[in-house]
């Protein structure tokens, strides 16, 4: 029999397949019984309530994002702006927010729609695809290359570099091999972007890399190290998260034909459906913080220096914030989900992600409105960031009537 997760003592196994594939029942247990739960193995406290998670996100002076875990991610320095707190973080965000605003993000929408259609062209006649490899991985990667002003031919290299950091191809228990692989991949990432910085300094273009080489904070240009530390974060934060969101959304829609048909029939619903699916699935289910001093949550005291997991996914199904929280309602009136976090570290790429997700869902359902999970198959979901790494979809092979615009 399956061991209860979380168990009676509030210990949650965050990597169990059943949990990552369908975490909402476990979230409900945490919300009802364990205001401060505990992560299995690492023993770190977990906050789940919407009010606690939002409070922590809004108080970086208590729950810091400045932590040493970057050392294990192949980086030589903290990533910018995520691993800095205000006020240093605020100075970076001022220039980055401008370039990642909603309106600047919308400029990229035609390219994203074009990439989406080109990918669909490649498999629509076959009546089937493995969604992660065929669509969810390459689409955000192509969008990222367009945004940064990098050649589309570098697609495979980029996928290899981000995977080398996020999931190094070594035996899972071999921590030394993983550390070395990440370190070596990190060096390749630095070297790649060093070359791009040199090229853009010599010949600026209208792209994010040129923007970074010219941007000034209080009259001073960013240093080469600062630009590299920003690029590293873009590579780690900008690709996998949208990949995971696309997979979670298509897996949900494949499993809920009525909801899918509603969306395919009425594309005007897509923006609010994206918000609701971000809430329900919360693909980035947790974010880590470190306490800067002893902090009391309910009747539990968290010591100073504690690694705390903010379980965004649980907060997003908290009945105290969301009425009828377990119902997926594409027309939800009030939806203040924290799928992009909140407070000063609100996801820098949230506008870009929203644009990509809306454009991708619109193009996909315009061209493939009817699809199912391949009978007899079970999707496989990764832990941490919930990427649906195996999602075999099938559809009537003659369904693809609408061609690319």
């Amino acid at each position: 029999m399956r061991k209860e997760n979380p168990d009676a003592a509030g210990v949650l196994n965050l990597v169990e397949q059943q949990f990552v594939a369908c975490p909402q029942p476990a979230y409900a247990t945490l919300l009802a019984r364990h205001r401060v739960a505990t992560a299995a193995v690492i023993g770190a406290p977990i906050l789940s309530r919407y009010e606690d998670v939002v409070w922590a996100l809004r108080h970086p002076q208590l729950f810091s994002s400045q932590m040493d875990i970057h050392l294990g991610l192949g980086t030589e320095r903290p990533m910018i702006p995520l691993q800095y707190d205000p006020p240093a973080q605020t100075r970076y965000r001022k220039i980055l927010d401008q370039r990642f605003s909603r309106d600047r993000s919308l400029e990229l929408e035609p390219a994203v729609r074009r990439h989406a259609n080109q990918l669909i062209d490649g498999f629509i006649d076959q009546g089937r695809c493995e969604f992660d490899a065929a669509f969810a991985i390459p689409l955000p990667c192509r969008a990222f290359l367009s945004l940064m002003g990098l050649p589309q031919e570098d697609l495979d290299l980029f996928i290899e570099l981000k995977d080398g950091i996020i999931r190094p191809p070594v035996p899972p228990a071999d921590l030394v091999a993983a550390f070395e692989f990440r370190r070596d991949t990190g060096q390749r990432i630095y070297a790649y972007f060093e070359g791009v910085i040199d090229a853009r300094l010599a010949e600026p273009r209208d792209d994010v890399m040129s923007y970074l080489t010219a941007a000034e904070i209080d009259g001073e240009r960013l240093t080469r190290h600062e630009i590299l530390d920003i690029c590293f974060l873009f590579l780690l934060g900008g690709l996998d998260t949208v990949t995971a969101s696309l997979g979670c959304m298509l897996a949900y829609l494949a499993g809920h034909p009525e909801q899918r048909r509603r969306l395919a029939r009425d594309p005007a619903l897509i923006p609010s459906a994206v918000e609701e699916l971000l809430r329900w699935e919360t693909p980035v289910m947790l974010v880590p913080r470190v306490t800067t001093q002893a902090v009391t949550v309910g009747d539990v005291e968290l010591p100073a220096g504690a690694l705390v997991n903010l379980l965004l996914g649980a907060a997003d199904v908290d009945e105290a914030e969301f009425s009828d929280a377990t119902r997926v309602d594409f027309a939800r009136e009030r939806n203040r989900h924290v799928a992009f976090g909140g407070g000063p570290h609100r996801c820098l790429g949230s506008h870009l992600a929203r644009m990509e997700l809306r454009a991708a869902l619109a193009e996909w359902h315009r061209r493939i409105p009817e699809y199912d999970l391949q009978p007899g198959e079970t999707p496989r979901v990764s832990h941490g960031i919930r990427e649906v790494q195996y999602l075999p979809l099938v559809w009537p092979a003659d369904a693809g009537t609408a061609a690319a615009p």
Partner: protein, 64 residues
């Protein structure tokens, strides 16, 4: 009906100007700017909807 914005709370989610472009617009950083604090009667429902969806509690409404 009047809109009150606490700009120190805004972090640029952009829900307000996405949901109610008639009432809000982004500043150059993508944070909230209120087009006109006084809400025309025709936009009362829109204003309530946008204010209710601010994830940072940066917006409030003073009903007449």
């Amino acid at each position: 009906m009047r809109i009150r914005l606490d700009i120190d709370r805004c972090v640029g989610h952009g829900r307000c100007y996405d949901l109610a472009a008639a009432l809000f617009e982004p500043d150059e950083r993508g944070h909230c700017r209120v087009r006109a604090a006084q809400v025309p009667a025709a936009h009362a429902t829109l204003a309530r909807h946008a204010v209710a969806n601010c994830p940072e509690d940066a917006l409030a409404l003073d009903e007449d």
